[in-house]
């Protein structure tokens, strides 16, 4: 699950990380009030940042500076409601604009290849790390955290020196270790600070000081671990999820809407992707990716069918179940139940093999479902059915 910058910063703060103060505003007035507080605190300018779950906010005009509370209100008004890559801006972050001396990049990410937490740092901050990786990969410093003990002090020091942060060693070590602590505390699979920056500030005694701070934050959370962090569910951005995606998630299904006409219901992610691939290969277009998961029971199958049929473009459905932990007869019962409830009639091609397939076959035959023996045959029949109804419509 992706979360917004302001929420990510809250998680970092909870781990004691240096994050400059901010406020979230949902209206022009809230932005003005927030900005006034920062100006009263001595800020010369404030920054207003769109809170949306897409990259490239700055380029899209979603990050702007303002020199007065009124200007902040104006800027916030322009940004709120803006469409950035299909996402509507509903909140902005307001904070004192930092005087940046130098920008760095630092992240902790789950490295699948090594099965460890990988720290990546670069002295080229503030730009997309994918670009840095393409243009000069040697500029990215990589260190793996110890699998049992986490990021050790010497590893963090080594990383800091390699990034050229020797002058801010203590802060850099604390931040690097804080990234790993944040990952572990909230089961994040990515914690990214870009930019991590040396900023110039006025100290309490009025003298100028330089400090290392997290100016931006990006955190993604492991969906498998959300159940043990009940508070984090509230950070889900409702705009990041279409209503049907939400219904699917709550039913324990993995669903991704696509543009085609053939609804797919499959057990297992790999087989679901293969089913989509074969529909396409047979000349059709899949309407969705839908994995009912392992051990799905009848009620889950019925929920899956409702979600597929909610898409008005769907004019044929392909059900492909290879039973292992999932039992074919349970799925067949779910299909029969779902068909009894469904509001519109769409041709359905059903293929059920594997565990309890014989029992499923009896049920499907009694209920007069159209069946297929192989996946290739099922895909071909579904494409044919989709074309047939398409021509009739």
């Amino acid at each position: 699950m992706k979360i917004q910058e302001a929420d990510a910063k809250t998680l970092l703060l909870a781990q004691g990380m240096p994050v400059p103060d901010w406020e979230v505003a949902r209206t022009e007035d809230e932005a003005r009030t927030a900005a006034a507080r920062f100006f009263d605190g001595g800020a010369e300018r404030v920054v207003i940042k769109a809170q949306v779950l897409v990259g490239g906010r700055g380029k899209a005009g979603g990050v702007k500076l303002a020199a007065s509370p009124d200007e902040a209100a104006q800027v916030a008004d322009a940004i709120l409601g803006m469409d950035i890559k299909g996402m509507t801006v509903r909140k902005v972050l307001v904070g004192a604009a930092a005087e940046i001396v130098k920008e760095y990049y630092l992240s902790a990410v789950l490295d699948r290849a090594e099965g460890r937490i990988l720290l990546m740092g670069s002295a080229e901050g503030g730009v997309e790390i994918e670009q840095v990786a393409l243009v000069h990969p040697e500029a990215i410093i990589r260190r793996h955290a110890d699998p049992l003990l986490g990021l050790l002090d010497y590893q963090a020091r080594d990383l800091a020196f390699a990034m050229g942060l020797g002058g801010h060693l203590k802060a850099a070590v604390a931040i690097a270790k804080g990234l790993v602590a944040t990952m572990r505390a909230f089961d994040a699979d990515l914690v990214e600070i870009n930019p991590l920056a040396i900023v110039r500030e006025k100290g309490p005694d009025g003298r100028t000081v330089e400090r290392l701070v997290c100016l931006d934050a990006k955190v993604t959370l492991d969906d498998s671990a959300l159940a043990r962090h009940p508070g984090l569910e509230a950070l889900r951005d409702p705009d990041d999820e279409a209503p049907e995606d939400r219904e699917a998630r709550e039913a324990g299904l993995t669903f991704i809407k696509l543009d085609g006409t053939i609804g797919c219901m499959v057990n297992g992610a790999g087989l679901a992707m293969t089913t989509m691939d074969l529909v396409k290969r047979a000349g059709g277009e899949p309407a969705n990716f839908l994995d009912i998961g392992g051990g799905a029971r009848a009620d889950k199958v019925a929920a899956a069918m409702r979600i597929i049929l909610d898409d008005p473009k769907v004019n044929a459905i392909l059900v492909n179940i290879f039973g292992g932990i999932t039992r074919g007869d349970e799925v067949a019962r779910g299909l029969i139940e779902a068909r009894a409830q469904q509001t519109r009639d769409v041709p359905m091609i059903v293929r059920i093999v594997g565990t309890n397939a014989a029992e499923a076959a009896v049920l499907l035959e009694q209920a007069r479902f159209q069946t297929a023996a192989s996946l290739d045959e099922a895909a071909a029949k579904a494409v044919e059915a989709s074309r047939g109804t398409g021509a009739a419509a």
Partner: protein, 294 residues
């Protein structure tokens, strides 16, 4: 010989009294797997599978009393990492973790600890392994198999069954069919599996079933090019039509910025001498074209 499971397998099922554990333990036993013990803490002294299998409170007792050498775990996600560690500590050599939905960070120290104990973990979130005619551990349906000399390894669950069924339908039997699991942090990789097959005298050909995301297929392909040059090998990659940046169920199956795409995997596999199928049903034909005469 086969790999990982066989006639010498003496299985303990952790979570044998649960719904899934009981159902699949029964299927494994019917297939011919020697199930020597079950473990459910608090139910020690009872029996499972109609009195046929003694249930113990701990894996240690199960090993001591029954000589178990392999474990299959059906414990729910919250307790599964601990179940893996318990098995490793009790001296189990081969541990299959079927459980799905385990938080990825939980598995990092677990994989490390299992390795340090000299044991092997397969999974989590995997369907297990079958050595046809000998034993099956996990949830792969027994009847889809046929005895033979093709080694099958896959990251998926049900897609593995699809590929195995296609092989069996074409008369190509298998030495061992292994599902390594689709989670981000797993105990046994494609590379590990290929190394095991390479060392197995009864495996003469390889089927590799991959999917988009990560670079595990590419890594395995590189090794195969050098070490399995003369072995007929075929592959299938799921997710050719998956949209970029979307997570397709498996945590691993996410592609971004061209890395881990189906195209890059197909290219790496073909360069390593694999013939890559457009559908699982094409795998047997391609294997014959690659010179396999089994």
């Amino acid at each position: 010989m086969s790999i990982l499971v066989g006639r010498e397998t003496r299985l303990v099922v952790q979570g044998i009294t649960g719904r899934e554990g009981e159902f699949h333990a029964r299927a494994m036993r019917e297939y011919g797997t020697q199930i020597v013990a079950g473990v459910t803490p608090g139910k020690g002294g009872q029996t499972a599978l109609d009195g046929a299998v003694p249930v113990y409170d701990t894996v240690e007792e199960a090993v001591r009393d029954s000589g178990a050498n392999t474990s299959c775990i059906f414990v729910p996600a919250a307790g599964a990492p601990d179940a893996v560690l318990e098995a490793a500590a009790a001296g189990i050599a081969t541990i299959f973790c079927i459980t799905e939905g385990i938080p990825a960070l939980d598995m990092i120290p677990v994989v490390e600890m299992v390795r340090a104990r000299g044991a092997r973990l397969i999974g989590p979130n995997c369907p297990g392994a079958t050595s046809p005619g000998r034993a099956k551990v996990g949830i792969i349906p027994g009847p889809i198999h046929r005895e033979g000399r093709v080694g099958v390894v896959s990251r998926s669950g049900t897609l593995t069954y699809e590929a195995v069924q296609a092989m069996t339908d074409a008369g190509l039997g298998q030495s061992t069919c292994l599902g390594i699991g689709g989670d981000p942090v797993i105990g046994t990789t494609f590379l590990d599996a290929l190394q095991l097959f390479a060392a197995d005298e009864e495996t003469d050909a390889i089927v590799l079933i991959g999917e988009i995301g990560g670079a595990a297929e590419e890594t395995a392909a590189e090794w195969a090019a050098a070490h399995l040059a003369d072995v007929p090998k075929v592959a299938f990659i799921a997710g050719r039509t998956a949209p970029e940046g979307k997570r397709m169920g498996h945590a691993g199956a996410i592609i971004s910025g061209g890395a881990g795409t189906a195209a890059s995997k197909v290219e790496a596999l073909e360069a390593a001498g694999f013939r890559v199928a457009g559908s699982p049903t094409e795998l047997p034909g391609l294997l014959r074209n690659a010179g396999y005469r089994g």
